[in-house]
Amino acid sequence: MSQDVVELEGLEPDAVEDEALAQIVDQMWESYFAASEPFLPSFEPLEVTGDVLCASVGITGARPGLVTVTVPRAAGRSLAAVLLSEDGDLDDEDVYDALGEVANIIGGNVKALVPDAGALGLPAIAAAPPLPRTGSRCAARLDAVWQGHPVSFVVWLAGSAATAPATEV
């Protein structure tokens, strides 16, 4: 197998691509955040650093995957306030719950695109993005700015035999 062939295989569309992820996020924003500030996709990857929250949901099956949503804690609080339609004091539980639900909605819709997917896990919240499993690759990514905060959505999928290991972590 020549190097050229490997590169071509690496360019094959994966089950979930940036465009599909963007569509899913867009639909969710339209449904639940339309009344808030606009969601501005970024063409450059954005680094979410400092006091961050990351919600992730796993997908089991032939190609296990992980969907993550990473935001600064302050943005997590704003997301929860919009979803709950409550401006008052939100406790951490509400913020984790809201961010987890965002990850769950994205995860459920991503799972529908993955062939031979098994089950969708329950959302987990951490203070840093989880390390994806060995052999996973970043299948799709969407970075955006909302209320001045960076928001990052990433879909990790275990590489299949047909995909090149170029972006493996």
């Binding site: 639909q27 969710m28 339209e30 449904s31 639940y32 929860a80 979803l83 709950l84 339609s85 539980e93 509400d94 719950d97 809201a98 987890g100 639900e101 769950n104 909605i105 994205i106 995860g107 459920g108 819709n109 799972k111 529908a112 089950a119 969708l120 896990g121 329950l122």
Partner: protein, 299 residues
């Protein structure tokens, strides 16, 4: 009417409840549960008219809850509200007995279209394109109006009296002493027809079917109130009226709710009773008892 909302996320329960309101179901009471086990218990304790449940939850999933409900003979209308809306999930949901699956993210329109057949009302536009669990809700046809003759024959057989019917005017609902109203649904719980008896006909038919003397209905007319026995009998007549709609090729209808004269009617039932178009308005006379009015509206 009562809806049970089951989701482990408080945020999502709030969104579901808010969306119910936005979809026009602001007259529905809502109770909540946090997982499939609590939801199962809440169905027994609260007797909701519909369950809206997440699929993926700790302790017991919505799917397990639905299976447990059906295994224990509970046939409460059940719909999933879940982030997983693939064909596989819809088929699995339908096979387990779910009426529909609403995929997250959802809009008030999706709620209105999926729930109006169960709850009635709502602000649904034509629900033709709504993908429910497994199939489309607009499949079956509407019920035909019965003929004057069919109404006469049924009442005559049922009451054991000669009955005369002639073209009449719409029977009013609301006000005092009010009218008896039956709401009929098909086997997917869609509101499909209403029958209205004015107060006099409810009294006369209730007395005749119960073999009570004509004095019983005359007394009710004087009091402006039906006795418990007459109310129950009138409901029984409304129940049997369902057979008017059950003709070959039409959806099978059954009485879903009977409202006694003076009882507060659901707004969508009032709307159905006063709808123009597919309706039959009759003046009815039950021999030896008296005259009244009857309206049939198919939806």
């Amino acid at each position: 009417m009562k809806a049970l909302v089951v989701d482990d996320s408080r945020v999502m329960r709030q969104i579901v409840i808010r969306t119910l309101r936005q979809a026009g179901f602001d007259w529905v009471d809502v109770v909540q549960a946090e997982n499939g086990r609590e939801g199962f218990e809440a169905v027994r304790a609260e007797q909701p008219d519909i369950v809206l449940s997440d699929w993926n939850m700790p302790e017991a999933s919505g799917y397990e809850m639905l299976q447990n409900l059906r295994a224990s003979g509970q046939d409460v209308p059940f719909g999933f509200v879940t982030s997983e809306g693939s064909e596989d999930m819809r088929e699995k949901a339908a096979a387990a007995g779910a009426l529909f699956l609403i995929a997250k993210p959802f809009t008030p329109d999706a709620f209105a279209a999926a729930l109006a057949p169960v709850l009635g009302g709502g602000s649904a536009a034509a629900p033709a394109e709504v993908a429910t669990a497994g199939r489309c809700v607009s499949e079956s046809g509407t019920s035909p109006l019965p003929s004057n003759l069919a109404v006469r024959n049924l009442l005559s057989d049922l009451l054991g009296r000669d009955v005369e019917v002639s073209p009449g005017t719409p029977t009013a609902v609301g006000g005092a002493p009010g009218s008896a109203v039956g709401l009929y649904v098909d086997d997917r719980l869609r509101s499909s027809a209403v029958v209205v008896f004015d107060f006099a006909l409810a009294a006369h038919a209730g007395a005749a079917i119960g073999l009570l003397p004509p004095g019983a209905s005359e007394a009710a007319l004087e009091d402006g109130e039906l006795s418990a026995a007459l109310r129950q009998n009138a409901n029984e007549v409304l129940n049997i009226m369902a057979s008017l709609f059950n003709v070959e090729g039409a959806p099978h209808l059954k009485l879903h709710a009977a409202y006694a004269p003076g009882e507060v009617l659901r707004p969508d039932v009032v709307e159905a009773c006063t709808r123009t178009g597919s309706r039959l308005d009759l003046a009815v006379e039950v021999a030896r008892y008296g005259k009244g009015k009857l309206s049939v509206v198919t939806l």
